[in-house]
Amino acid sequence: MNNLNFIYPEIFISLSILFLLIIGVFKKKSSDLVFTLSVVILLIALGILIKFPSDKEFFLFSDSYKIDQLSTFMKIVTLISGIFVLISSYKYIKLAKIIDIEYPVLILASILGMLVMISSYDLIVFYVGLELQTLSLYVLAAFDKNQRNSSEAGLKYFVLSALSSGLLLYGCSLIYGFTGSTNFALISENIFSSDYGNIFGIVFILVGLSFKISVVPFHMWAPDVYEGSPTSVTLFFAVVPKVAALTVFIRFLYVPFFSLIEQWQSIIIFLSLASMIFGAISAIGQKNLKRLIAFSSIGHMGYALAALSVGTNSGIQSSIIYLCIYLVMNIGFFCCLFMLKRENIFFYNLEDLAGLSKNHPVISLCLLIILFSLAGIPPTAGFFAKFYIFISVIEESMYFLAIIGLLSTVISAFYYLKIIKIIYFDRPKEQYDKENDLGLKISLALSTLLILLYFIYPDSLINLVSKISII
């Protein structure tokens, strides 16, 4: 039972959730304390995770739970981004008056669900993790009770997500029926393309998963939910669940379904192309920054999927690198959004940024760097993210995908430039508050510096990721 060591982070987080709830019940006005504690809990879990050996693989609970480099790395990424999301949104949560003890607890619960998803090696374990994650997210989306938009977002997300979970579950049951097992390793041995049930199952599962990472044509929920949810939750949506969902994508495609790569490859290529193009074009007309970032994240997920479609280890690695850089850029972008406040009112419209550079040169400079990075212009980190993707895509001679992908970066550059134009070229509006709390400043500074200086030592991320190999 020595191996139980390797789920200590999950056990620790689940016990702490209960502990935090008890504090919440017995201590009045404990929301600040619970919030701080939850950050500490995530840090401790991170500390445990970092100590995991990076060169061994373990199976737990009769092969239904796998600890390997992929799961450890993605868990670390999840926790780090979770910590930064919490730190940078603290002030917002206070000002928006949604700082109840349930908020951090729900965040912890959904992170727990993600950790389970990341490690799952069995359809049932995977589904349990997924549901834990999404159920917490429904509540989080609707968390701002005083806002109609927020409740609407929660309901929308719930209805559509439940539907997609249903499809996913149906796919799982088909796979189980035709292969006779729920374990990934056993499925991969018994899955054959001659059984149409398997192919149906794969399609249903892929549809469900695509919904979770919001790629076209299963993206409809994203803009509304991103817009309606409280901004801190939007940040959470845009960042943390993507890690888990992408890991599951990798796991499904490359373990149980890998022998059917010819069946799913064209699906993934379609999803990726559609997301890149659609994300780029539909973001152009957006006036609300949260909606805009939703479309931009659809496009970005398209790029991450492009690398997954090639079926090589380097593809997986570049997809993971892309994801990491995407997370940093998004955290930086939302930090800037959190700073756009005047007398406790936050601003989300594109035109609220007008002439920002005049009154807030530092925020504008950070936004400039982040936006150029999102657009993928060298020498920012965003360029390298795309560069890795296209290296692995072109390695497999998929020139069509590469060219369309790069052309859609030009289209998407247009709307990022539009934001820069509003910040730098337009006439300034009223000033925003100059004071911001330390956590927010640190998150913004860190993410901007990472993006800007990534080119000095680009190997850092590659070295971390290069150990991950699935195939």
Binding site: I377, P378, F387, F390, I403, L417, I420, K421, F455, D459
Partner: protein
């Protein structure tokens, strides 16, 4: 090479920009100090590059001052170095940048600090483009230059600046992404992106055509060649003077340099296949845009169109792929860098005083601005290519090289010389001579000290290299010969 002299050339302006960024200021006093920092840094850079030219060995066929550091997983190295071709462009960049900084005094009214930072960053990136010896590094610098230029046009530009900045950015980006695909493909085909290695290895002929076209799409937009030149007049007209100068003097040269270094160097067979395409587009550029220039009533637009025509000569000369043609196009690029910079400065000087760029608003200013009239005359004649100016050497060599290849092409190209004389002299006549009708012009002061400094320091090399081009030709000769030898060798091998 012990001391990383090229890296320090690239880094120095960035360091200066950081200094300016950190110095907190809003008052005019601090503006001055940040200007001094920028001036100091850019002049030091200029002297370093002159020293570099001095210690550069023109008889070596190898790349010199090479620095090679592991960078990206060992497959892309940070490799920089120069040969006879690149050194001239580096000096051109370090020469133009301080002049731009001198000129900001009166042209830039708002956010001077940011402007200086943008110019310095731009200088770093431009030097980087000319010394990178790895395709990926080249791409980084090449594309990175879009960011500061976009901001220069967009923040400090004229009334239609947003449109122009977007057009500039998106056109260039669209051209460049295909080059990125080609660069990555080269990596997978040849296993390296190191230029010197690729010269030795060569690229399989069956891939060359497509790769050449991908590079061409980027360079053609940047050159700019007809029909993708339309971003240039817009960008020039709206950009502030210093921005126009950088754009015309150096940014356009990146593409010419890229043609020589990459298109001919890496894809000799494809270059031969596509010669006709280049000839056609260049001739259209020379003749058509000259006519367009003739009809402009905006001075800046006229010079912008003349730039397109002059760059037409450059591409024509490059793809003759003989000694005269190539040498001519490099000298033409250097000369055009100096002359167009000077002409944009001249227009800027008038614009500052009258806030108009329309030719019809001027006339007869020779009587009120005699010094200006003299200097403008020099540059006008240099733009026409009058013997005695550097413009003549370039055009003459290009035409000579072209005559060797094709009589017809050279004849049509010669028309451009006549047309250039027509639009430039007509411009000069309408602006400088004639009757002084507009009484507002009387208030215009003649050149001040800094303007005289800028224009004379541009006029001296124009005249000097016009009379005595030996130093330029000496520097490039070995590299060009080497390039042509490799080119002929690989053509013969495939035949």
């Amino acid at each position: 090479m012990d001391f990383p002299i090229l890296s320090s050339l690239i880094l120095l302006p960035i360091v200066g920009a950081l200094f300016i960024l950190i110095s907190k200021s809003s008052d005019t006093y601090k503006f001055k100090s940040s200007k001094y920092v920028a001036l100091f840094v850019s002049f030091v850079n200029f002297f370093i590059s002159i020293y570099l030219w001095y210690i550069f060995d023109p008889n070596s066929t190898e790349f010199q001052f090479v620095e090679n550091r592991l960078w990206l997983q060992g497959f892309v190295n940070y490799k920089i170095g120069i040969d006879g071709i690149s050194i001239l462009f580096i000096i051109l960049s370090t020469f133009i940048a301080p002049l731009c900084i001198v000129s900001v005094n009166r042209t830039i009214k708002v956010r001077l600090k940011d402007f200086l930072i943008a110019i310095l960053v731009m200088e770093s990136l431009m030097i980087g483009v000319f010394c990178s010896l790895d395709l990926v590094i080249f791409y980084l610098f090449f594309e990175g230059g879009l960011i500061p230029m976009f901001l220069i046009i967009g923040i400090w530009g004229g009334s239609r600046r947003v449109y122009s900045a977007f057009k500039f950015f998106l056109f260039t980006l669209l051209g460049s992404v295909l080059m990125l695909v080609a660069i990555i493909s080269i990596y997978w085909i040849s296993g390296t992106t190191d230029v010197a290695e690729l010269y030795k290895l060569g690229i399989e002929p069956k891939y060359q055509n497509l790769l050449w076209l991908a590079f061409f799409s980027s360079f053609a937009v940047k050159t700019p060649m007809w029909p993708v030149h339309t971003w240039l007049p817009d960008a020039h007209v709206e950009a502030p003077t210093a921005g126009s100068v950088l754009l015309a003097a150096i940014l356009l040269k990146m593409a010419g340099y890229g043609f020589i270094r990459f298109s001919i160097g890496l894809f000799p067979i494809a270059s031969e296949n596509f010669t006709l395409l280049i000839y056609t587009l260049s001739l259209i550029a020379i003749v058509y845009t000259s006519f367009v220039a003739l009809m402009q009533d905006d001075m800046k637009k006229l010079i912008a169109y003349s730039s397109v025509a002059h760059m037409g000569y450059v591409t024509l000369g490059i793809f003759t792929i003989n000694q005269q043609g190539l040498e001519g196009s490099i000298i033409q690029m250097i000369s055009h860098g100096l002359v167009s910079a000077a002409l944009f400065f001249c227009v800027g000087i008038l614009y500052e005083r009258r806030h108009s760029r329309l030719i019809k608003d001027y006339g007869g200013i020779v009587s009120i601005m005699p010094k200006y009239a003299v200097l403008l005359m020099i540059f006008t004649l240099a733009a026409i290519g009058l013997p005695g100016t550097s413009g003549f050497i370039g055009e003459f060599l290009i035409l000579m090289g072209t005559f060797k290849e094709s009589f017809l092409v050279a004849t049509i190209a010669s028309l451009g010389v006549v047309l250039a004389a027509a639009y430039m002299l007509w411009l000069y006549k309408r602006v400088v001579f004639g009757k002084l009708i507009n009484k507002d012009l009387l208030k215009m002061p003649d050149l001040n000290k800094s303007e005289i400094f800028i224009l004379t320091s541009l006029a001296l090399p124009v005249l000097f290299f016009g009379i005595y081009p030996e130093p330029l030709l000496n520097t490039i000769e070995t590299s060009i010969t080497n390039l042509i030898d490799t080119y002929k060798y690989s053509i013969n091998v495939t035949k």
